[in-house]
């Protein structure tokens, strides 16, 4: 097992060293929000409720589902969501 590698930061160090979140949406009205069901039981009910709430706030909603919760989403699905949506909510259940 190799040990971790240390790199020297090439930036002006204005940002924290941890990778940063992408910019958040400033408003929901008019935005397209993807709801990604990870395919665990009862996820659908939870996402149905989220969808209703989002629609009330003026967002558009698109629904997606992972084939199985045990694996990461297929690349094609990630790409589809990134093209079609402004943001995505990945929802669990249980």
């Amino acid at each position: 097992m190799t040990t971790q590698t240390v790199l020297l930061d090439p930036t002006a160090e204005l940002q924290p060293v941890e990778r940063q979140l992408l910019p958040r949406l400033t408003q929901l009205a008019g935005a397209t929000i993807g709801l990604l069901d990870i395919s665990k039981p009862r996820g659908k009910e939870f996402l149905d409720e989220l969808e209703q709430q989002l629609l009330k706030m003026g967002a558009k909603v698109k629904r997606y589902a992972k084939p199985t919760f045990a694996r990461v989403a297929p690349t094609e699905l990630s790409q589809q969501i990134s093209v079609e949506c402004d943001a995505v909510i990945e929802a669990l259940a249980d």
Binding site: T2, Q4, V6, L7, L8, D9, A12, R19
Partner: protein, 481 residues
């Protein structure tokens, strides 16, 4: 009477060295002569020399590094008197006998055999040992990458790249890069736009590593950044503009040849490490230190492929034809980097002109269309003259100044043909200029360089940013030490 303190000896050996093997039989004799005050360090094989059980393992090379051992064997003598420490290297029988005071030391050995290089002198070892044992301190933040992560991907994920892979900036690589220059790592060379943050030589080295530079390129990279930070270059505006332009780097003088830059076949193209990585280093510094990210502060409508790297050197093979650096006031034996705010390449094909007069008119016609055929005085340009076109000019007895003068003479047009609406084209110069004669280039706005392969009656135009002169960017030059 002062107490006599025994003299002590330290011997540094390497088994792989034939001279060390030669003197192995005398180690016992030497130890006996100084009452056992002999320390023997061995760099490569802790079992050597077998005849001296008190040997000390220095395979880590810490002792050798700290004591600056360059040659094996080295014998260090430590006395408490004013002589202090002194040392001899290799094997010289009479010298060793005098140095140790043992008159018959190694009497049976040959008189002389030079030593070998210490392992501390192996290529790359100095930086490795300096990192391990030395005082090397980096002020840059450390970024930990998990052992399971792909280190190249980690660089991408942090936004450090221009889209192409970068060399991961490990401390060892950065230290080697810093060794290419005499500048102190902590030295601040200025504030890098657009964020205007202070930038140290160390940060430049980190980005030069990522760009793929060799340490010998580093002084040129530093000079290029210093040039970019000159106020007259207007790096901030150049980075922000919606226009195509970016720094175009031209390297003149001995350094360009010493580091193997390409000023021949495909000089403006791919394939030469120095050309490619020095230009790229400047771009990465603007991106990573300055925060100039495309789509962020960099608002280029299209940009141009030169924003990865646009760097070349000039063909300086003819003493009667001045280089760009000489035009800028430097001498031929000075190494200089110049930056021009420019963009794409527009070819000038002329395979028929055999006189300077015809070729100059041909070049001028192409230059007149630059940016827009009806826009005059907006942008500077670099005219890149190929060696074959230069041959036509020189054969006709022309100097570079003759060419420049002829071009300026050709590149004038009546305002009536250029103003807005003229030629049924809305774009053009302000109407109030219709009675003036306009120059395509402002004074000092047309630069001429020579580069490229020996075959091809093609020259080229590197068109400049449309904010030329004091209202925008002017060509800048910086001497490379």
């Amino acid at each position: 009477m002062a107490q006599t303190i025994p003299t002590s000896f330290t011997l540094i050996l390497k088994k792989d060295c034939p001279t060390c093997a030669l003197i192995e039989p005398i180690i016992g004799q030497l130890a006996a002569s100084c009452a056992g005050n002999l320390s023997v360090y061995v760099q490569d094989d802790p079992a050597f020399p077998t005849s001296y059980p008190g040997r000390i393992d220095d395979t880590s090379l810490e002792f050798s590094y700290r004591n600056q051992i360059e040659i094996v064997p080295t014998l260090i003598r430590q006395t408490q008197d004013s002589a202090g420490e002194s040392r001899i290297v290799g094997w010289d029988k009479s010298l060793w006998q005098e140095f140790t005071g043992v008159a018959d030391l190694g009497a049976e050995l040959i008189d002389f055999k030079p030593g070998c290089g210490s392992l501390t002198q192996d290529p790359g070892m100095e930086e490795l040992l300096a990192l391990k044992f030395g005082e090397a301190q980096f002020s840059a933040r450390e970024v930990q990458v998990a052992a399971t992560a792909d280190i190249m991907e980690a660089c991408y994920e942090r936004g450090w790249t221009d889209g192409l892979p970068v060399v991961p900036p490990t401390a060892l690589r950065v230290m080697k890069m810093l060794s290419g220059s005499k500048r102190e790592a902590a030295e601040i060379i200025g504030r890098v736009p657009p964020d205007n943050v202070e930038c140290s030589i160390e940060k430049l080295a980190i980005n030069a590593v990522m760009a793929g530079c060799k340490p010998e390129y580093f002084p040129t990279v530093i000079a290029a950044v210093e040039a970019a930070l000159q106020d007259r270059f207007c790096m901030h505006g150049l980075l922000c503009t919606t226009y195509f332009s970016t720094p175009v780097m031209i390297v003149n003088g001995p350094v360009s040849r010493q580091i193997g830059m390409n000023s021949g076949v495909n000089a403006l193209g791919q394939g030469n490490r120095a050309n490619a990585t020095i230009g790229r280093a400047l771009q990465l510094i603007i991106r990573n230190v300055g925060g100039g990210i495309p789509g962020g502060i960099d608002r280029a409508t299209m940009g141009n492929p030169g924003k990865y790297s646009f760097c070349f050197s000039e063909d300086e093979s003819h003493d009667d034809w001045n280089s760009l650096a000489m035009d800028r006031g430097f001498s031929r034996d000075e190494s200089v980097v110049s930056l021009f705010a420019g963009d794409g390449l527009q070819p000038i094909l002329d395979q028929q002109s055999r006189t300077p007069e015809s070729l100059a008119r041909s070049m001028a016609l192409s230059l007149s269309t630059m940016v827009h055929a009806k826009l005059y005085g907006m942008a500077d340009a670099i005219l890149v003259v190929s060696p074959e076109h230069r041959r036509v000019l020189r054969a006709g007895g022309w100097s570079k100044e003759d060419l420049r003068r002829a071009l300026y003479g050709e590149l004038v047009a009546p305002g009536s043909e250029l103003v807005r609406g003229a030629q049924d084209i809305a774009e053009g110069m302000p109407l109030s200029w219709k009675d003036k004669t306009l120059n395509k280039f402002r004074e000092d706005g047309l630069h001429i360089v020579t580069t490229g392969g020996k075959a091809g009656l093609f020259s080229a135009i590197i068109s400049g940013w449309v904010a030329a002169g004091e209202r925008g960017s002017q060509i800048v030059s910086q001497k490379i030490p």
